[in-house]
């Protein structure tokens, strides 16, 4: 089972700063292991973020993104107490959804 994302969402002025740290190997499929065998590709393809039930971000993620990637953005029109739901899907069909509340 995939490890939980870490989500931090804080109001800063009239906008919320949202940060999402996903825990994922993000293998490109181009690397080889010690024995020379290719390591199969394994990477996040999309990440979506909803705040208070409304879609605020959708990321198209690929193999050029690092291991354990951090996503961050600011969003207006939200308030402290709103629920943030982040969800990713990877190329093996695995998914992970985590929640946090805007502070």
């Amino acid at each position: 089972m995939a490890s939980p994302m870490k989500i931090r969402a804080r109001m800063n002025g009239d906008a919320a700063q949202i940060r999402i740290l996903a825990v994922h190997p993000m293998e490109t499929g181009l690397r080889k292991d010690g024995a020379g065998k290719p390591i199969p590709a394994h990477y996040v393809q999309t990440l979506t973020v909803d705040v208070a039930g409304k879609r605020v971000a959708r990321y198209e993620v690929g193999t050029s993104v690092s291991k354990n990637p951090l996503f961050g953005f600011r969003v207006r029109g939200v308030k402290a107490g709103d629920k943030v739901v982040a969800s990713w899907v990877d190329n093996k069909g695995d998914t992970r959804t985590d929640e946090a509340v805007i502070e």
Binding site: S3, K6, R8, R10, R19, L21, S66, N68, L70
Partner: protein, 297 residues
């Protein structure tokens, strides 16, 4: 003709070697020259680099300086500690991993007791009790060495310097967040370790013939390998740290990296020499609050 060339080449290199050797002989090979009077307290930096005033309070760092390459070293990079910087990074992943491993190891409460926690309470353990003299091991040890030892008592291998070992160390250290480091190096085995560590810090060795102090005292404020050297005061308070090259490091692993970069033989994490240096550096953080999970370039 070829042979002659080879011979003359050999002569040239041999000549260079002798010149180098002579230059080295001018200074004793492993000299020990203490550069300054070290005060076992973070305020000792006032007489050293004088930058302490700028990073004394992590929350009150000057944001213009944080953004300025020129001034960052004067802030001792404390803007990458969590009480200033609220971003997320691999240190937070490590902390969670440490928490899970700790919970498993401490299922019966023996792990916490072995580390020296009273009633399983980890608060202040890092700030007030490490490094310490361990009666079980008969020597001065840092927290990571103790984690290895206490895990081994349950037949779990958690090598000092490994990711999992440092992850547990971050977890345990976090309970001391905000508490000033407080180790007493005025007597007993810690005093001896402090003095050995101080001597080691000034001992030149390796291919470059550098001591730790060559870089960390003489060259403070100058740039080296793309980084500007900072004061060693207050450093021990944010370790283990997440290096942005994606590596969780304990203090000893950092020492090994510095040794390697300076062309000296790196030692094993947990080796007595590194523990002595850790005591020395931790004493230079006395009075400065612990803050993890931090990050560093």
């Amino acid at each position: 003709m070829r042979l002659a060339l080879l011979i003359s080449l050999a002569a040239v290199t041999a000549g260079a070697g002798t010149a180098l050797a002579q230059q080295r002989n001018a200074q004793p090979y492993r000299e020990h020259v203490p550069y300054i009077d070290w005060k076992p307290d973070v305020t000792g930096d006032i007489q050293h680099t004088g930058t302490y005033q700028y990073w004394k309070d992590r929350k009150a760092l000057n944001p213009d300086w944080v953004a300025s390459k020129e001034h960052q070293w004067q802030l001792n990079w404390k803007f990458m500690d969590p009480s200033y910087d609220d971003t997320l990074h691999g240190g937070h992943i490590a902390r969670d991993r440490g928490a899970a491993l700790y919970k498993k190891l401490d299922a019966g409460g023996a792990f916490a007791a072995c580390l020296g926690a009273r009633n399983g309470d980890l608060k202040g353990l890092r700030a007030n009790h490490y490094p310490q003299y361990s009666t079980a091991l008969g020597r001065v040890v840092g927290l990571e060495e103790m984690i290895e030892h206490c895990a081994a008592r349950q037949n779990v291998t958690l090598e000092n310097g490994s990711y999992d070992n440092s992850a547990i160390s971050v977890y345990v250290t976090e309970f001391s967040n905000g508490m000033p480091i407080n180790i007493d190096v005025s007597k007993g085995p810690l005093k001896d370790a402090f003095e050995r560590g101080r001597e080691r810090f000034h001992l030149r060795n390796g291919a470059t013939h550098f001591a730790c102090a060559t870089c960390h005292v003489t060259l403070v404020g100058r740039s080296l390998r793309g980084q500007v050297l900072t004061t060693p005061y207050g450093d021990a308070a944010h370790w283990p740290t997440y290096r942005t090259k994606d590596e969780l490091q304990s203090l000893h692993v950092r020492f090994a990296e510095c040794n390697r970069n300076a062309g000296a033989q790196p030692l094993r994490p947990g080796s007595p020499v590194y523990s002595d240096i850790e005591v020395f550096l931790t004493a230079l953080s006395n009075g400065y609050p612990v803050d993890v999970p931090s990050a560093r370039d």
